[in-house]
Symmetry: C2
Subunit: 134 residues, 2 copies
Amino acid sequence: MNGRFSIAIHIMTLLCADDNLQSSDYLAGSININPVLVRKELSNLLKHGLINSQLGKNGGYSLAKPAKEITIASIYKAVKPNAILGQAKNEPNPACPIGKQINSHLKALDADIEQVMVNKLGNTTLAEFYKRFD
Amino acid sequence: MNGRFSIAIHIMTLLCADDNLQSSDYLAGSININPVLVRKELSNLLKHGLINSQLGKNGGYSLAKPAKEITIASIYKAVKPNAILGQAKNEPNPACPIGKQINSHLKALDADIEQVMVNKLGNTTLAEFYKRFD
DNA sequence: TGTACTGTAATAATTTTTATTACACATAAA
DNA sequence: TTTATGTGTAATAAAAATTATTACAGTACA
């Protein structure tokens, strides 16, 4: 996994902390990454219905619903990678009985893992996560 | 996560499939990656006590113990990344109340996730995983 | 009608991953 | 005892992925 979950939850926490519209530049300043990257992730969160945006002057971003109705799992799902356990770039040797089948078995393992992860992350809401800050 | 878990479990499955010593070149041929990368991962698995190696002519690698005593979790632990959920490359803004604390809360989330993952992967042995191949 | 935003494309820089080359060292077998 | 075949590891190069930057069209408030 790359830094996307970290960026997404940082964004969501900042929006949770203040109901006013926040600009991508402000968010980028807290996360300390390029504003364009933030806008890309905001665009993704928007697509997943987690946030709202407002165009034009004094525009910005806000949560699409109350923080207690947003689970960490839903944020994770918005940015989740193809494979939690990672995947080979090269195709294994199809002439090898193990190589031929390993990917499908790995994929099954991955699905199991994703399920327990999402279960766990589904137990916490953004509101609860935010309460941990002091 | 990169391709390391995929490589490690592929290696372990191949060693499980045949008790004879296997060379890094043979393993690399099934995985379809460079033999040096395989030897690096073998070196790591060796360090974690999961395999044995034999130097010299006709040398190679074999499992360090019966496959039913090796869990998938122990293989995962040998290659696990710093953060399952990923981590930012840049330090968040220390002047921001959220930015200042986000990393420690993320780290806690990560620890929770790792625990449920390891629990889940601990339920399956290499022997059971290997049985799924036909 | 200017100003301050979002939204997105194109491109460059950086970092990470993977591949390759090279070679010291070990041991079985001819 | 010499040769062949393997491990172990360092150094370097190539490729791929991630992050940063520049640029600008479009929107809406004042």
